[in-house]
């Protein structure tokens, strides 16, 4: 049974760890351990002896993890999931969702496939949420910059707020640029001149 697989999740963010573990538990894997502290990685890998290690593709600690799996002289050598390119769809799905996995050499793809599919689905949702959050933050930043640019125009050119925004927009259109870029340029120039 798949339930026998031992899974280690390396992830510093507690909320993300919980989301991943919940998803794995719901899908029927109970032997899951989480690790946030990289200093304990070496010991944890040796003692827990996971069959699969899941880690965010962008996590800088991957280099440390690879070193351990490479230098540890055990019969259970871990290899990156991407080595097994027999299932290219799965590999590419993992890559685009941002999951990397290390599996014990010799473990059959069909045994780990459903673990990976669960992880990929969960990582995808987390990535989606993150990019929505980033977009919202960016929109807020952009609005602040545009407000500052409007403020500068209102003060310096004695304009109404609507007229200031219209001027920013028509300038952007005539120069084939975005409103935020024009606003940025104006704010930077004003900072330099003040």
């Amino acid at each position: 049974m798949n339930q026998k697989l031992r899974i280690l999740v390396v992830e510093p963010d507690p909320a993300r760890v919980r989301a991943i573990i919940d998803a794995l538990n719901d899908a029927g894997w109970s032997d899951v351990k989480a690790l946030a502290q990289m200093s304990a990685l070496d010991r944890t890998v040796k003692e827990f002896a996971p069959d699969i290690v899941l880690i965010d593709l962008a996590n800088p600690d991957r280099d440390t993890l690879e070193h351990i799996s490479d230098a540890t002289e055990t019969s259970k050598r871990a290899v990156a999931l991407f080595v097994d390119q027999t299932d290219d769809t799965l590999t590419q799905a993992a890559l685009s969702a941002g999951v990397s996995a290390y599996v014990v050499d010799g473990l059959k793809m069909e045994r780990i496939k459903s673990v990976l599919e669960t992880a990929i689905a969960r990582f995808k949702i987390m990535r989606q949420m993150q990019s929505e959050l980033d977009a919202a933050k960016q929109a807020l930043e952009d609005r602040k910059t545009i407000d500052r640019a409007k403020g500068i125009l209102m003060r310096q050119r004695d304009m109404s707020e609507d007229a200031a925004y219209t001027l920013l927009r028509t300038t952007a259109m005539s120069q084939n640029r975005k409103v935020i870029d024009v606003a940025h340029a104006l704010v930077t120039a004003a900072d330099l001149l003040s």
Binding site: A58, N59, D63, A80, F82, Q92, L95, Y102
Partner: protein, 379 residues
Amino acid sequence: MSNAVLNCGYVPLVDCAPLVIAKELGFAAEEGLALNLVRQPSWSALRDMLALGHLDAAQMLSPMPVAMSIGFGGLPARVDTLMVLSVNGTVFGVSNEVAADLGAIPFGDADAILAALSARKGAKLRVGVPFHYSMHRLLLSYWASTASGLQIEKITVPPPRMADAVADGFVDAFWVGEPWGSVAVRQEVAQLMMMGRNVWQFAPEKVLAARHDWVETNGDAAARLMRAVYKASAWLDAQRNKPLAVEILARSEHLSMSPDLIDPALSGDIITRHNTAPTPVGRFLQFHKHAATFPWRSQAAWIASQLGADAAGIEKAKACFRADLYRQNLAGIGADMPGASEKEEGALHFETAVASSRGHMILAPDAFFNGRTFDFSSK
């Protein structure tokens, strides 16, 4: 006609400079390339993205294409080295506690440092390195293995965390690329003892790599990229361009580092201890002079032999350092070509004129600290 987009991965370190300059000063555009530099969070991630086709080319640690081509490490794949991006440029430093034990040793005295570390009482020396397949790790192993009594443990630590790892006592020493050595000194947690060059005078550090298959089917794009990077490296090595180079690198979004962190590596004025004057060290980091960009097949062979490869592995390593492509693609823009593609590594103790296509080639010293030489030519 719009320029062809080429996605090139890099890790934000000072020695990614040739790629940034190729893009920012328009050398890539001159070659009809829209060079898209894609920042990578780790060497593992960069390797995966390159091997799986999400990047066309990448800056790599010189042992990475060799290891991958032989089949060592997390992800074996046929990856070629098109040219060398930088020679030397790393530092070895120790925590303040270890430095106090060692006493006064002149900066760069590899023998004295080794002797003092071997005589030091205590547990294994824990040394941080950036990646298992790095020149840092190979030089450390080569150097430390010559001392009988010295026990070291190599620990992989992401470079931006190296200073903290020393401060937390997680490592006692480190071998790292700039600016992270200077950062540790500035944070008053460590002292720099020597640079990579003190162990091997001419060590290929970073290389420009691409998948073998990609190179075969995109020969023209590879040639354009190589020409752009070659011109950028020539520009970078000109003394008069250094201040401007620091400014461009600092301003570029690719590095996000302040100029004073970039300057030591480029100027070769290294602050080895907090609150001391910079020590001017020659040939700290080289991009172009002395055929620095030439992918010597003997360099690949040295790397492979240090990785424990057999004769077949050494041949694979040699083949992945594409001296043939270098000759083919760069002769047309005036690059001087050495008469041979292999040399006896470690044989040069002084600057030496050698036979070359244009007759101007002077090679820099490439001796090892213990005087060993390595001849990998198949006789």
